[in-house]
Amino acid sequence: MDKERKIRVLVAKPGLDGHERGARVVAYGLRDAGFEVVYTGLRQTPDQIANAAVQEDVDVVGLSILSGAHLSLTQKVMDRLGQAGAEDIIVLVGGIIPEEDIPELKKLGVAAVFTAGITIAEIAEVIQSKVTET
């Protein structure tokens, strides 16, 4: 892997949930931690997210979801990424995710789930280690 190339992260808000605080704070934080970050803004469809991920040539896609629609939205994003030939992109999910849904998300292929209380430093560490693994 190209050591000089910064890790590229797409932070995305799928669906209609309009709460951006977490997504913005994570985007700023990861930028300060040395990643290249693109934040999609609100109301992204799974198609738009997959397209942006491919166009921006990201290593990681982070989905921020607080509306309860995380399982169906994540499923769709994973499908579209697969269709776009981008299965190797690491997908992370954050927001309001009930504990019982975390195994479900992992089964869909999500690499890690972040809930309230996590620090940006911890997210950065997880990204570093997951990217190095691949």
């Binding site: 949930d17 309009g18 709460h19 951006e20 509306s67």
Partner: protein, 594 residues
């Protein structure tokens, strides 16, 4: 009793101040500095406030009695709940059930039938409050349940409303003794608020109920959506046109319906600082007040029907108490001096709660600690003019639905504060405190400075169009996160006191199955089937005609769109059909680049 003339009094005051200044200097040298030095600190970790902090404090100008301008000490000497607190205790009154003609618990899910059945269930348990309606994101963003954007979101965070038909189904739970001329409704709706208000009015018309009897509160606060909550449709300008139309319509036809429910609660939860919360709230209120005036209304005919939902909160309760005092004073002064109101009711901040901790202060870790936090907030509430509510229930961050245990603890905490600690027996107990008066002044001054900065840039609407408010909030949110990660701000059980010796105190939670997961699973398909059927059954020519009229009049800014919206509603145009017509004319909002 000695009466001194003015000069003597001023001389006395000057002498007193000088004496205290001398005493303070001596204290700093002989008591404070040695103590700070003894502990090797750069400065004292505490502060003390003497009369010097409020040298020219004019009680009548700055505070005055409760119910007297500028309302710093409260809107009135006591609220309805306090009048009957002792009788209520003896009769086991449950205000959270919407007793005394109020609304019930905030809720909503699934299809209109699901929500209606839930309301019937609540009523069978004695909870007869009016609907306090949450709408799904599809409805809040002006889409129908069969649109591509709706997938996975129908009926999730609230009830799905695609047309007047759905609205009427919900109100099958409110007839007879509970009909809408007797029971109020709350609608947490913003971008399509005009449409929901129209549905409420057309429901009354259909039932032969005079519009003047309708009570309740639509949130109808679109400007904060751009800053904090995200359920906007059109750009700020056209959104304000719809606000104006709803404001005029309500003033003329629904005089008992509150027009808006404003306040910086969402903005603070999105990360804003206290100063930003207060300043942006005032700026946004000013924009709505101006909209009413620009429409030719007399300030005192509509301002009394403006309400506040809440401001933000935090664990720093001294500051939150000062905030509430400053907010009341600032709003009263603004409405009186800037907008020329004469009616005292125009100048009041009518809100259901005052100081609180803010839901974002609760933690997922060691959730029972949230009860402790909520009690701190309840004290602040009781000391800032409201019922000492221990809000939110401790399991708030665990997901949707509060457990029976959390609700019971919350209610009992409030009761203990009211009846045992008697926190609410004194109005504005901090009035006259050197500390609190000085802090109130500071809070107001900081917000006033920020408000003037915004007004210089063209007011709230301009500050939103150019992204100023959004950037400010995002920056504050990030700074707060950094302070937590750097351990400058402490959060117990999250970034401090997390070691092995700590115990995870747990409770077996019984979450009331109010929202049946089985119903949630099928809500989307059932809703789409209903929508399909409705489209086949309605008179499509009437719909097209009504939508065409709406579109035509939308292009003329001087026309009030409420009559056209009412016609569309009656013809069973769908929510999205109406919103799309307006999308064609107004365009869609672009998110701010920050």
């Amino acid at each position: 009793m000695k009466t001194s003339n003015k000069e003597e009094r001023m001389k006395d005051d000057k002498e007193t101040v000088e004496k205290i200044e001398k005493a303070e200097k001596e204290w700093q040298e002989k008591v404070l500095a040695p103590r700070v030095k003894r502990f090797n600190l750069p400065e004292s970790p505490t502060r003390f406030y003497s009369p010097l902090a409020v040298k020219h404090h004019d009680f009548l100008e700055k505070v005055n009695y409760p119910g007297r301008y500028p309302y710093t000490a409260g809107n009135n000497p006591f609220d309805f709940w306090r009048a009957y607190a002792h009788d209520a205790a003896k009769s086991g009154y449950r205000p959270d059930w919407g007793g005394a003609g109020g609304v019930g618990k905030y809720g909503g899910f699934g299809t209109a039938e699901d929500y209606r059945d839930y309301l019937f269930r609540m009523q069978s348990m004695g909870r007869k409050g009016g609907p306090n309606m949450a709408f799904d994101l599809v409805t809040q963003c002006g889409y129908d349940s069969d649109s591509p954007q709706a997938e996975g979101e129908v009926g999730r965070v609230g009830v799905a409303i695609d047309s007047f038909r759905d609205f009427q189904v919900i109100y099958e739970a409110y007839t007879g003794e509970l009909d809408i001329d007797k029971v109020p409704s709350n609608f947490t709706i913003n971008a399509p608020a005009a449409i929901i208000i129209a549905m409420y009015a057309m429901l009354a018309e259909k039932r032969g109920i005079p519009l003047e009897k309708l009570r309740g509160t639509p949130q109808n606060d679109i400007l904060k959506e751009f800053v904090a909550r995200g359920t906007y449709i059109y750009p700020p300008g056209p959104s304000m046109r719809l606000f104006r139309d709803s404001c005029v319509f309500c003033t003329e036809h629904l005089p008992k319906l509150n027009i808006t429910s404003m306040g910086g609660y969402h903005i603070r939860e999105a990360g804003a600082s206290r100063t930003q919360d207060l300043a942006f709230s005032m700026a946004i209120a000013a924009a709505y007040l101006q909209a009413g005036l620009d429409a030719g209304l007399n300030i005192d005919t509509f301002a009394p029907m403006f309400t506040f939902n809440a401001f933000g909160g935090s664990m720093e309760i001294y500051h939150e108490i000062a905030f509430q005092r400053a907010a009341r004073r600032m709003y009263a002064r603004m409405v009186k001096e800037r907008f020329g109101a004469k009616n005292p009711r125009s100048m009041l901040i009518r809100q259901p709660i005052t100081a609180h901790i803010g839901c974002s202060s609760t933690t997922l870790q060691r959730p029972l600690n949230n009860l402790t936090r909520a009690v701190v907030g309840g004290l602040a509430a009781g000391m800032s003019g409201a019922i000492p509510g221990a809000f939110p229930p401790f399991d708030e961050p665990l997901g949707l639905g509060h457990s029976l245990e959390a609700v019971q603890l919350q209610l009992d905490a409030s009761r203990i504060m009211i009846y045992e600690a008697r926190v609410a027996d004194v109005n504005d107990p901090w009035a006259g405190s050197y500390f609190m008066e000085s802090l109130t002044d500071e809070t107001e001054a900081a917000a006033q400075e920020e408000l003037e900065r915004i007004e210089k840039r063209g007011g709230a609407i301009a500050a939103i169009e150019n992204g100023y408010m959004q950037r400010a909030v995002a920056k504050s949110a990030y700074e707060k996160q950094q302070r937590i990660e750097n351990r400058e701000d402490f959060v117990v059980g999250v970034n401090v006191f997390t070691g092995e010796d700590e115990i995870e105190v747990n409770v077996n939670r019984v979450v009331e199955a109010t929202y049946d997961p089985a119903l949630m699973k099928t809500a989307e398909e059932r809703q789409k089937a209903k929508l399909d059927r409705m489209k086949r059954e309605r008179d499509s020519r009437a719909v097209s005609a009504a939508l065409a009229a709406l579109g035509e009049h939308a292009r003329d800014e001087s026309v009030n769109l409420m009559p056209d919206i009412c016609e569309c509603v009656k013809a069973e145009a769908t929510l999205q059909e109406m919103c799309d017509v307006l999308r064609d004319v107004f365009g869609e909002a672009e998110p701010a680049i920050i």
